[in-house]
């Protein structure tokens, strides 16, 4: 059975795809059956992923590959393939499980939306593409699925097309990620050019195996960095992070599934997948490309955490925390803790989905209110949401011992502390931990404590279909930590295929206390700062944020996301303007000269033909000079709109080529 699924791995993405196709063909009045179909497809995918998960448990370092030829031209074939190994298996489990929860949740959340059916079609489409991305054994196939999930996210962000802001956000997300993907594509081409194959594992000939890696040679760093551009785009690392917060314009389940749990993790997954390329030729685990990864990750983590403090939109806060968590994962990959990074990815998938769904339930309860300053006192109104949300928040801010996030964060800090290059990232990450605790506290205080405000007057607990996923995810977020503890680092061992054995002593480490202190500090600071949040006190209006009251300038700076969008606008505009000027200058000075030169060539012919016929030499000369002038004029008006001119220029090019060869020979 498990053997069978290993051979028919393609079924896992195929099922949601098929579901989405069928759903797309359904009329809008069959929305019930559409939802049923989507959920059923997800359940099937989950079951198959579990089947696929089983064999990887038995043998350490299990890896099942099957490749097939896509098409042949002449005698060179383009091959794709599927791959099942621990990395893929855990991702499959996470995606399908979280996905299932979110599908169920959105059946409740999206009720009454006029494009209900379309929504589920897109959602299934996305999940199919994501699963395909995870199990693909060829960088090309991965890239295809990569673009497909990009498309899905574009469609879903702009799901409420009638909102201009949504449309703009969708466009922004699409374009920004494209910038990254351009790099990815170039890297892909370069890799193909060097190693001649895009298969990861191909019985020793793949581009991640000895032979393939050996062929990369000196260009490996550039390839790695180009691939990392793609990762940066997808998982919102520092220069390209701007799209992710705006992506919150989409429906909340979408934010939960795509922009928190799965798709944005794809970048991290990509780096982990092609890690051999990054770490090729490393001396004690440091290569230039990995160093770049680390620094970018650190910058992102810290910056996003800072920005998150000053946001008012509940989802934006979570979005920025996502960005910073992704930065954390990148750091851990960069410093060599692949397993730690992946573990944090999985844990983050669970609790971030939980948080988003919680926020979704809050928004739903408050009838679409998203500004946390207008909420408050929801603790009693929505107990289930509150408790699950609290669990998610603890996990996110990394409270040790009980919550999955805590352990993975431990791991990451641990590996970062031993990074040979510098210890700066370590300290910065410690600050990041404090900040995370801080802004989460702020959010929770604003939303759930204090007394009700404008937005939360008529709030109510969400229906069963929405609370059940919350509970499930909360349980996952807690129980998941069982396999993460340093006492019994099963998942770590599973990912790095070593056997894990229980050892209680490792449970109590000094770092635990350190992080306990840090988190406590964050909580304390938060509670102290925001105890009076939302209520009028000492000449501060109720709406104004305490931090804003204390430090207006800093708050402005953070609230406006460090002016990065504006900066981009300036630079981009300036750049295009400059390039326009440049090309104009080229036109005036360079091309003109070139064209005159071509005229000179024409003159050459003139002389040649003149010497041809002796008798009518004058006529010949006149004719040729006329021709030359005509040629020169035609050429000098380089954009004459005359086809024949262009043809002539092409011919001249051919001739020039011939002359060049003449010069060579």
């Amino acid at each position: 059975m498990s053997r069978w699924i290993a051979d028919h791995l393609w079924l896992i993405p195929a099922v949601p795809f098929a579901a989405s196709l069928v759903i797309l063909s359904l009329p809008n009045r069959l929305h019930k059956s559409a939802a049923m179909l989507a959920v059923a497809g997800q359940i099937a995918a989950l079951a198959m992923s579990f089947l696929a998960f089983l064999p990887t448990l038995q043998a350490p370092g299990f890896r099942a590959v099957q490749n097939f030829t896509w098409f042949t031209f002449g005698d060179n074939a383009l091959r794709l393939g599927w791959l099942l190994d621990p990395l893929a298996a855990v991702m499959l489990m996470m995606i399908t499980l979280v996905g299932l929860c979110i599908f169920v949740f959105s059946t409740g959340y999206m009720t009454g939306d006029k494009n209900f059916v379309r929504f589920f079609a897109y959602l299934s489409f996305f999940s199919g593409a994501m699963l395909g991305l995870v199990i693909s054994n060829s960088l090309l196939l991965l890239f295809i699925c990569w673009e497909l999930v990009g498309l899905a996210s574009y469609l879903l962000i702009g799901f409420w097309i009638e909102r201009p802001s949504a449309a703009a956000a969708a466009k922004k997300a699409f374009i920004t990620t494209r910038i990254g993907d351009m790099g990815f594509f170039l890297g892909l081409l370069w890799l193909y050019g060097r190693s001649g194959t895009l298969l990861f594992y191909d019985g020793g000939h793949g581009c991640l195996e000895g032979a393939g890696l050996a062929m990369l040679g000196a260009s490996v760093t550039s390839i790695a960095l180009l691939l990392f551009c793609g990762a940066m785009g997808k998982s919102g690392q520092f220069p390209l992070h701007v799209w992710l917060p705006d992506a919150m314009e989409g429906p909340t389940p979408v934010s939960a599934l795509i922009h928190a749990a799965t798709m944005v993790a794809a970048g991290v997954f990509l780096v982990a997948r092609v890690y051999p390329i990054f770490s090729l030729g490393a001396n004690n685990g440091v290569t230039s490309s990995l160093t770049v990864v680390v620094w970018i990750g650190v910058t992102t983590a810290l910056m996003a955490a800072l920005i998150a403090i000053a946001q008012a939109d509940i989802k934006r806060i979570l979005a920025y925390s996502t960005v910073s968590q992704l930065g954390l994962m990148m750091v851990s990959l960069g410093v060599g803790g692949v397993a730690a990074g992946m573990m944090h990815l999985l844990a983050h998938g669970f609790f971030k989905a939980l948080l988003f769904l919680g926020s979704g339930s809050v928004i739903h309860g408050c009838h679409g209110e998203q500004d946390i300053r207008k909420m408050g006192g929801l603790r009693r109104l929505m107990p289930i949401t509150f408790s699950t949300y609290a669990i998610g928040m603890m996990a996110l801010s990394g409270v040790p011992l009980f919550f999955s996030g805590g352990w993975t964060k431990e791991e990451i800090l641990h590996v970062t502390a031993h990074w040979p290059v510098s210890r700066v990232p370590y300290f910065l990450l410690l600050i990041g931990v404090v900040l995370t605790a801080l802004y989460m506290t702020r959010q929770v205080i604003y939303v759930f404590f204090g007394d009700r405000r404008a937005g939360s007057q008529h709030a109510h607990e969400s229906s069963r279909v929405m609370t059940l996923p919350l509970i499930t995810l909360a349980i996952c977020a807690i129980l998941f930590s069982v396999v993460l503890t340093p006492a019994w680092p099963w998942l770590d061992g599973y990912l790095t295929d070593e056997s894990a054995h229980f050892e209680f002593a490792r449970l109590i480490e000094p770092t635990v206390f350190l992080s306990l202190v840090l988190v406590g500090m964050g909580f304390g600071l938060g509670i102290w700062m925001y105890r009076k949040a939302g209520v009028q006190d000492r000449g501060r209006a109720a709406e104004t944020d305490p931090l804003e009251f204390a430090q207006p300038k800093l708050f402005r700076f953070l609230e406006n996301k460090m002016w990065i969008d504006e900066l981009y606008a300036r630079t981009v505009i300036a750049f295009s303007w400059m390039s326009a000027r440049l090309s104009d200058w080229m036109d005036r000075n360079f091309w003109d000269r070139l064209v005159r030169g071509l005229g000179g060539i024409g003159q050459l012919f003139g002389v040649l033909t003149a010497s041809v016929d002796e008798r009518g030499i004058n006529a010949g000369v006149d004719e040729t000079s006329v021709g030359t002038r005509g040629l020169g004029r035609l050429m000098s008006a380089a954009h004459s709109g005359q086809i024949q001119t262009y043809l002539g220029v092409i011919a001249i090019g051919l001739l020039a080529l011939l002359l060049f060869y003449a010069w060579l020979a």
Binding site: G630, G648, A651, L655, Y661
Partner: protein
């Protein structure tokens, strides 16, 4: 393939080509263009690619030439007033010819005679088309369909 036949056919072909390029009346030019292609097909026969030659005649005389003459017919009011030739173009063509000639004559490796082989059989071409070239074949089919539809759309009378 006897070189006498080759030379004769080549001369005829080039003469027809020159006529097609220089004749004043468009219809004559088109017809001599057809003649040129017949010549090229004959050259293919001599070179042992009979199938390609037949295809060439079939496609060009049967389809392209008829298309061209029809176009001439449909745009008849404009036929004939061909205002002068563009001498720089002629010079360019001569130059290109000179360059190519120079390149060909200079390259020693092309001064070889053909090996003695049987002309390629239609069966082998069919097999090749259906096995290792099936992908390009599909692409060409798609392309032709697209071209067909595009041409139709282009010449369709726009409704008003």
């Amino acid at each position: 393939m006897s070189s006498v036949a080759f030379v004769i056919i080549a001369i005829l072909t080039l003469a027809a080509a020159l006529a097609a390029a220089t004749l004043q009346k468009l219809m004559h030019a088109a017809l001599s263009f057809a003649a040129t292609l017949v010549g090229v097909a004959a050259l293919f026969f001599l070179l042992g690619a009979e199938f390609v030659g037949l295809v060439l005649i079939f496609v060009y005389i049967g389809a392209v030439a008829v298309l061209i003459v029809f176009t001439i017919l449909l745009t008849r009011r404009d036929v004939g007033k061909d205002r002068g030739a563009n001498w720089s173009g002629a010079l360019l063509a001569i130059g290109v010819f000179g360059g190519l000639m120079w390149a060909i004559l200079k390259t020693q490796s092309v001064a070889i005679v053909a090996p003695h082989i049987r002309s390629i059989s239609v069966k082998r071409i069919g097999e090749a088309l259906m096995t290792s070239y099936v992908w390009p074949l599909q692409c060409v089919g798609l392309l032709l369909t697209a071209a067909l539809i595009g041409a139709l759309v282009l010449v369709m009378e726009e409704k008003r």
